[in-house]
């Protein structure tokens, strides 16, 4: 089904329908409370699955290495994605460049379970994101604020992640973006219905979606946090701030003991409101990834600025 309506999905018909808004968004609902881990090999994917990841993100280089290596970062090699799909039984996600709908078509043909149209890769289009309604495979997109999240949803995104600053091991931008999104939702809640039209204009987002968020008090799709989570406490922080789950990129496989850290972050994500469990999970994890101070990052190296 190629519905262009972002509103609540319709009644099921007698004939099975794939790719509906409800099965795309519903897939993300199943991931809630979980951790999605970046992996670059089938072996890492298995470690992630063993640790209790709800899904893995298959990519060629983790963001920390993309930063280090520079150059153009693109969709991963299909062989590498196939290898990871065959290695694990949990869902597999993969990244396309922003606006590179052909990379997305390739990922769909490979059978990935979710496509991340990601600012971590080098954008292919500086004006347009991909039309995500055109795909059966659901999409997750990053956002730094509510307007950006709603524009992505209007384009068909079935899940949103706050962007943070990938590959830094520094949670500060993740906190900034999640607080921004949650804060703006809170403000919409307080508006009179007469004020929602002007709010939509300010947010540069469709009025219908703005109205829906004002009524629901949340996005109409699942909201995860990404970009800078490196410790169990970081993951729990994002959940206490309102993320429904977390993406962990470089934080696991750039650390001293990935298997142990991965399991610890899973535990802390489930018991995000229990400091005793988080404390236990935080013991003896070995070295965390080194991390980068975001205020020393030049503008051109800030991935969160990519996408509009």
């Amino acid at each position: 089904m190629s519905s262009t309506s972002p509103s609540t999905p319709e009644t099921a018909s007698q004939h099975p329908e794939t790719g509906t808004a409800r099965v795309k968004r519903g897939m993300a609902e199943q991931l809630k409370g979980g951790v999605i881990m970046d992996v670059v090999t089938p072996e890492e994917a298995k470690i992630a699955e063993d640790a209790g990841a709800v899904a893995v993100m298959a990519l060629e280089r983790v963001p920390a290495d993309i930063r280090k290596d520079g150059g153009v970062a693109r969709m991963s090699d299909p062989d590498m994605i196939d290898g990871i799909i065959n290695a694990v039984s949990i869902p597999v996600m993969a990244k396309s460049r922003i606006g590179h709908f052909v990379e997305a078509q390739v990922l769909q043909s490979l059978g990935v379970d979710y496509i991340d149209e990601s600012e971590v890769l080098t954008p292919a289009d500086e004006v347009n994101h991909s039309d995500k309604w055109a795909f059966t495979t659901p999409f997750v997109c990053g956002a730094t604020n509510l307007g950006e999240a709603l524009r992505r949803i209007a384009e068909g995104a079935a899940m949103i992640r706050s962007k943070g600053e990938a590959g830094t091991g520094n949670v500060v931008e993740a906190v900034r973006h999640l607080r921004q999104i949650k804060g703006e939702i809170g403000r919409l809640r307080s508006l009179d219905h007469n004020e929602l039209f002007a709010a939509a204009k300010e947010l540069r987002a469709p009025y219908e979606l703005v109205k829906e968020v004002a009524e629901l008090g949340k996005l109409p799709v699942v909201l995860f946090s990404a970009g800078g989570v490196a410790t169990p406490a970081d993951a729990a922080l994002m959940r206490q701030l309102g993320a429904e789950g977390v993406f962990v990129g470089s934080g696991i496989f750039k650390s001293g003991d990935p298997a142990k850290r991965a399991a610890a972050i899973v535990k802390a994500t489930t018991f995000y409101d229990d400091p005793k469990v988080i404390a236990d999970a935080s013991r003896d994890l070995g070295e965390a990834m080194v991390g980068i101070n975001c205020d020393t990052l030049p503008e051109s190296e800030r991935y969160a600025n990519r996408g509009w």
Binding site: A12, G26, E49, G52
Partner: protein, 196 residues
């Protein structure tokens, strides 16, 4: 048994919130369960949709496996959707080798049997014991029931595959009524909790 039962939702991972909403609509009080002692406060338990390998791992890590198995044996009403159906199966195919289930229904369930996400679908499903026409079946990387024992009752079939089963106080569906606005199956389960 009180007239308004308290129904726990196993809240380790998955679509817990949607079950809370559906249970409230079906006149139950919903309560999250993440710790063994929280099981003492519920009259019934929902195992939500989610990732079954993650859920089974967390059930083990947080000491819930044996307490949950005891509750199943003692007849606590349980309802599992999708991953929850897998958790309530005596045997799982295409799972991880170390994947533990609670059991409760004498059935063999095949994980992700309907395919990957691109094969996820919606279809109308007739469910035995649910009046008023078919329910909206939302199947997401869904399992199906490969075979059931004599004591289990098949409640729904889609495309030749069993997708809803009840055995005694334990109910399981391959699909996710909690993702629809149709709360009839939750109402059926809340009735089971009330009758116990």
């Amino acid at each position: 048994m009180s007239r308004t039962p308290t129904v726990g939702v196993l809240a380790l991972q998955g679509d817990v919130r949607e079950h809370f909403i559906a249970l409230a609509a079906a006149d139950a009080v919903a309560s999250p369960v993440r710790r063994p002692e929280e099981l003492d406060e519920v009259d019934a338990l929902v195992i939500p949709g989610g990732e079954s390998t993650t859920m089974s791992k967390l059930v083990g890590v947080f000491g819930l496996l044996e307490p949950l198995r005891e509750r199943v044996r003692a007849g606590l009403p349980m309802y599992g959707t999708c991953a929850g159906m897998i958790m309530l199966a005596d045997k799982v195919l295409d799972g991880r080798d170390d994947q533990e289930t609670l059991g409760g229904i004498d059935m063999i369930v095949r994980r992700n049997a309907f395919g990957r996400q691109n094969d996820s679908f919606e279809a109308a499903v007739e469910v035995k014991g649910v009046e008023g026409g078919p329910v909206d079946g939302v199947f997401i990387r869904a399992p199906w029931v490969e075979s059931v024992g004599a004591s289990a009752d098949v409640l729904a079939v889609h495309d030749g595959h069993t997708v809803a089963v009840r055995q005694g106080n334990v109910l399981a569906t391959s699909f996710h009524p909690e993702l629809t606005g149709d709360h009839r199956i939750h109402a059926l389960f809340v009735d089971m909790a009330r009758e116990r």
